[in-house]
């Protein structure tokens, strides 16, 4: 298969996945906006869970299954498309929830439709309404559609393990087989060009959307009673496909493989390498995104920061493979060659890869955060009464710092489990555990491998939980320091 064919196949699949996912994202969004209390928490949990499933876990879980479909490539492609669909649906839903309302509300659109006489021809109706739909509901759908398309288009780790077709696999294989980096990058221009065209077209639309945002949602008409249960079925299917089944498969063979952990102390060092690089990249990426945040929030007088934010965030939007290959090429130039076999290329690429995600997380947190409740907790913290001050601290932690903590944990989770960038850029002797295990996965499932994968995935989870009390302790100290300095 040629690159063009692989690109075409990936493009088609990504477009279909995004197009199918968009209406579902908005249907879920309506449910999320009307749900309250525990029901809302449960719904959010079910929506987001599939997105956090490590690709290597999912791919590993279905490795044998996809092999069994070797004589039915179309079925395998469909199966992979389904996995990608459930993987990107949560992202699209989050974007749908956070996208500003379009300037033309559903009510406004309906009013326009009412104004068209009954005897108008279909062509006249289309001509008069097309602009309204583009400025209305379609505009609201675009950011979600584009992001889902990009994620589906540039997906690499999962497609590689389930033996489906993608330009990413084609390109990586070519590079792994010895194709010169410059040639590889020239091949990369086609898929990158496709993504760039879409991204560049979207940026002004997103910036304009923030300025032209419409009013809040008004209650809509009655929705079919079937929709709710169908959506729940869909979401549970996603969780099952991307978590329960792979974890079940992993667990089934793990018991026999636990002994491998004892015989493989190197694994622990590789886990530490992975975590160390993760933290060193995630924290600066988050901090840098925080500096650029006023630009993302479109405050006046921030045009320079907005430009820097766009430039800094662009490389990460093209996926780990393109970014890794580009970085590899850069560090093979004469100017940077002496840094080639150091952690710098890997670290730099990881920061750039995380940056758009960090900015998105910052924007989402800022959108969810309200300043008044925080100020009210701060007022209480300035009370002359020690009991009131003590009660204010956990409130402030929850409102101000907790979101940041979990955002950094999330960035660490993504960067830790990425095998692509370290495959291309790590220095000799510095192998992170996820990358090594990912490489082993291409040779099939085994008990020992299952145990190693389980440990590799569990360690950061336990670490995040263990660090939480420390973070809660540090935050009030920071607060006191700030209060004294004022």
């Amino acid at each position: 298969m040629s690159l063009a064919e692989a690109c075409g196949w990936t493009l088609l699949r990504s477009l279909i996945v995004a197009a199918c996912a968009v209406p579902l994202c908005f249907a879920i969004r309506r449910r999320l906006l009307t749900a309250r209390g525990r029901r809302r928490t449960l719904l959010w949990g079910t929506v987001l869970t599939p997105f956090f499933a490590p690709d290597m876990l999912v791919g590993y879980g279905y490795y044998n299954f996809s092999l069994s479909l070797i004589h039915h490539p179309l079925l395998n492609e469909l199966f992979y498309a389904a996995l990608v669909f459930f993987k990107v649906l949560p992202v699209g839903t989050v974007i749908a929830v956070c996208t500003p309302h379009p300037p033309i509300s559903p009510q406004a659109l309906y009013c326009r439709r009412l104004a068209i006489t009954a005897d108008a021809s279909p062509w006249k109706r289309f001509r008069e309404l097309a602009g309204y739909y583009v400025r209305g509901p379609y505009r609201a759908a675009l950011p979600a559609a584009v992001l889902m398309f990009l994620l589906a288009f540039q997906e690499f780790e999962l497609v590689s393990l389930v033996n489906a077709t993608s330009w990413t696999v084609w390109l990586f294989d070519q590079q792994a087989q010895g194709l010169p980096i410059n040639t590889t990058l020239r091949y990369d221009l086609i898929p990158t060009g496709i993504q760039a065209a879409i991204v560049i077209a979207m940026i002004p639309l997103i910036l304009k959307s923030r300025r032209a945002a419409g009013n809040r949602d008004a209650p809509r008409g009655a929705v079919s009673p079937v929709v709710g249960p169908l959506l729940w079925c869909l979401l549970v299917t996603g969780c099952t496909l991307l978590w329960f089944i792979p974890v079940g498969i992993l667990s089934s063979g793990m018991a026999d493989g636990l002994v491998v952990l004892r015989r493989n102390p190197r694994l622990f060092k590789e886990i530490a390498v992975g975590l160390g690089m993760t933290l060193e990249a995630a924290v600066p990426a988050y901090g840098f995104a925080a500096l650029l945040l006023p630009a993302a929030l479109n405050r006046p007088g921030q045009k320079l920061r907005a430009a820097v934010a766009i430039l800094a965030g662009l490389p990460g939007l093209f996926g780990g493979l393109t970014l890794g290959l580009t970085t590899l090429s850069l560090f093979q130039t004469e100017a940077l060659y002496r840094w080639y076999d150091t952690p710098l290329p890997w670290w730099g690429a990881l920061v750039l890869w995380l940056l758009p995600r960090a900015m998105l997380l910052q924007v989402l947190l800022a959108a969810a955060r309200r300043r008044e409740p925080i100020h009210l907790a701060e007022l209480l913290q300035r009370s002359g009464s020690p009991p009131q001050r003590r009660r204010a601290r956990p409130v402030l932690w929850r409102l101000r710092y907790q979101g940041h903590y979990w955002a950094v944990v999330l960035l660490c989770w993504w960067s830790y489990l990425d095998p692509t960038l370290p495959s291309l850029l790590r220095p000799s002797g510095l192998d992170p555990a996820p990358m090594r295990i990912y490489n082993f996965m291409h040779y099939g499932q085994a008990g020992g491998l299952s145990a190693m994968l389980a440990l590799t995935v569990l360690v950061p989870v336990l670490l995040a939980a263990a660090l939480l009390p420390a973070a809660r302790f540090v935050a009030p100290l920071y607060d006191r320091l700030i209060a004294r300095s004022r």
Partner: protein, 611 residues
């Protein structure tokens, strides 16, 4: 805490098309200050600055009350409630009440007062907008802050219940000596709650000063509009419309004029829209062919299109304008030989405010206060005994009277009943229940007894009426309705009987009305003797030996003495925190030694004037 809270100097906050605040300079004092203006005037911006939520880009805000000891200095109720999404209603209050004495009881009480008991374990996300608004206010009260800043509090609460919550807030402010700054565009809220006003328009400060001055003597028609409907009538216009020109201010509020049908007049009603408390009437002057809209406050919807009318200015209000709380030089002074006072005894950490007064046996002073207590002092001010009302969480009683048979009758206002005690505070009986029927009460507020031992009870809820009972409680008579006409009342809050006549303090109508004790209207006190200017007469007492009436004026902070015809014999006092006047006095009584006892409410004391 007294004095200034903030000083603002040329404060500016930028906006998108124009500054949200521009060059605002003012002082904000203790007490209740209302920031008034239409949408977009800058109210929220100003309050955000006061709360420290925003900082000005230019100018200075100086806060003058940081040193409040263990007390939380300031708390805030933002426009969007500012609730913590993960905390339940009870937890919100518990956090603020941490370390305060009796915190659990306080939390429970606030939840009850704001009707949030059944939402105690509910997070804000599951509450309605009105419930969130109430919780936001309750939270601010729970913290016991010295200063509260509230941005349109309770605006999302249905009007039928909002009054109740405002009462809770008001009581909290007075009981805890808390100052309040509120932003509102409701004139009724300003008039009811605030002492000072700041008027904003397009980010600029147009006016600051007492609410009363803004209401009765605004400098421009635009300022008049800040506090609701007004008839702006400079002398030429007043003449064109055949209205007696007011001497001090061209502003006549709806309650200050009356549009009455008459047989012949060039003024014809074009339209009349009655909205309950105000009627908007468009008149055509057939002589000049001019049209103009007037606002007046009729008791009922009477005017019809085509009716011929005349505009009357209420003399009493004019008189009130002529003497806005200060003695005129040509008015006689009440001769007072000696002034003494004693402070209201504390109730825990609080010092309640005295309200209703009566005279008991041996010239004992019976005093009702806003701690729900009935205090009995001897004639020299020594506390002899006291007891609390059986219930007083909802509200406190306001009227007390010693009956001929030795019982002490208390108008238990917010429980809509009369409670009878013996001399040591044992409850002997209850009379009445909530309702409008004969024998039922809506906010009974004053009681007196005649020589035949009949009991008269004044009420200001619903019909604003007087009911007459035998000593045994049998209903005899009801008279009076709500309104401004002869024989009508707006808050009849004091009553005294003499020789077949009742003298009733008609507080909001600024007059004392005289009736027979069979309920027939006789006259407005003073109308035959040249008029008697009063400012919210809250109570009236009679010196039987001299046949002199004493009237305590809540609005003017003074005592007025008249004869039974209403001729002015003297005045004493002014609005003051010192010893030369009173601050919002509620009640008075006179004993057999011609000693006047005055409940100087806001000064937390009982004042004795030896005449």
């Amino acid at each position: 805490m007294s004095g200034l809270l903030w000083t603002l100097n040329d404060v500016t906050l930028p906006g998108t098309e124009r500054p949200r605040l521009e060059g605002v300079s003012c002082d904000i004092s203790t007490g209740v200050t209302a920031v008034i203006g239409y949408s977009g005037a800058g109210k929220t911006s100003l309050l955000n600055l006061l709360a420290g939520f925003e900082r000005p880009t230019r100018g200075r805000i100086e806060r003058r009350f940081d040193d409040t000891g263990q007390r939380l200095p300031l708390y805030w109720v933002p426009q969007e409630d500012g609730l913590w999404p993960h905390e339940t209603a009870a937890e919100h209050l518990q956090i603020l009440a941490a370390g305060i004495a009796d915190a659990p009881a306080r939390v429970e009480k606030l939840l009850s007062e704001f009707d949030l008991i059944d939402k105690s374990d509910v997070v804000p996300d599951l509450m309605s907008q009105g419930e969130r608004a109430r919780l936001s206010v309750a939270r601010a009260l729970a913290g016991g802050a010295a200063v509260l800043v509230m941005d349109e509090p309770l605006v999302h609460v249905d009007p039928a219940r909002a009054d109740k919550y405002w009462r809770v807030l008001r009581n909290h402010l007075t009981q805890t000596d808390t100052s309040l700054v509120i932003a509102t565009h409701s004139p009724e809220t300003v008039l009811r709650e605030a002492e000072h006003a700041l008027c904003l328009k397009d980010g600029r400060l147009l006016h600051q000063g007492p609410v009363e001055a803004l209401y009765y003597r605004p400098e421009t028609p635009e300022l008049a509009q800040f506090l609701g409907a007004a008839n702006w009538l400079p002398p030429q216009e007043a003449q064109q419309w055949n209205v007696a020109s007011p001497p001090e201010s061209p502003c006549l509020r709806p309650e200050q004029i009356e549009i009455r049908p008459i047989a012949e007049s060039p003024l014809v009603v074009e339209t009349a829209h009655f909205s309950g408390s105000i009627e908007e009437v468009e008149l055509l002057n057939e002589d000049s062919h001019m049209r103009r809209t007037f606002f007046h406050r009729p008791a009922e919807n009477r005017l019809r299109r085509g009716a011929r009318v005349a505009i009357h200015v209420c003399l009493l209000f004019l008189a009130a304008l002529l003497s806005p709380g200060c003695d005129k030089d040509d008015e006689p002074l009440l001769k007072v030989l000696e002034v003494n006072y004693w402070m209201s005894p504390p109730m825990g950490a609080k010092i309640p405010r005295p309200r209703g007064l009566g005279i008991g046996d041996n010239d004992e002073v019976l005093c009702l206060d806003n701690g729900g207590r009935l205090l009995v002092f001897d004639e020299h001010g020594k506390l002899l005994r006291q007891w609390e009302m059986p219930e007083h969480i909802i509200g406190k009683p306001e009227g007390v009277c010693l009956l001929a048979d030795g019982r002490i009758a208390v108008a238990d206002t917010h429980y809509h009943r009369v409670v009878y005690f013996d001399e040591i505070g044992n409850v002997l009986s209850y009379q009445g229940s909530e309702g409008r029927e004969d024998g039922q009460f809506l906010f009974p507020v004053a009681i007196c007894q005649d020589d035949a031992e009949n009991i008269y009870v004044c009420e200001y809820g619903g019909d604003h009426r007087i009911q007459k009972f035998t000593a045994a409680g049998k209903h005899l008579l009801t008279f009076g309705t709500f309104g401004t006409g002869d024989g009508q009342f707006q808050r009849p809050s004091g009553i005294v009987w003499d020789d077949g006549r009742l003298y009733i303090a008609d507080a909001i109508n600024n007059r004392v009305q005289v009736f027979t004790d069979s309920g027939k209207f006789i006259e407005v006190l003073g109308e035959k003797t040249g008029g008697l200017a009063l400012e919210y007469p809250y109570d009236v007492a009679l010196d039987r030996s001299t046949k002199s009436l004493y009237i305590i004026e809540y609005g003017a902070g003074r005592v007025t003495k008249t004869n039974l015809a209403g001729q002015l014999l003297g005045r004493y006092g002014k609005t003051s925190r010192e010893n030369d006047g009173f601050l919002k006095p509620w009640g008075l009584a006179i004993d057999s030694q011609h000693r006047l006892r005055i409940a100087d409410t806001e000064n937390h004391r009982i004042v004795e004037l030896k005449l």
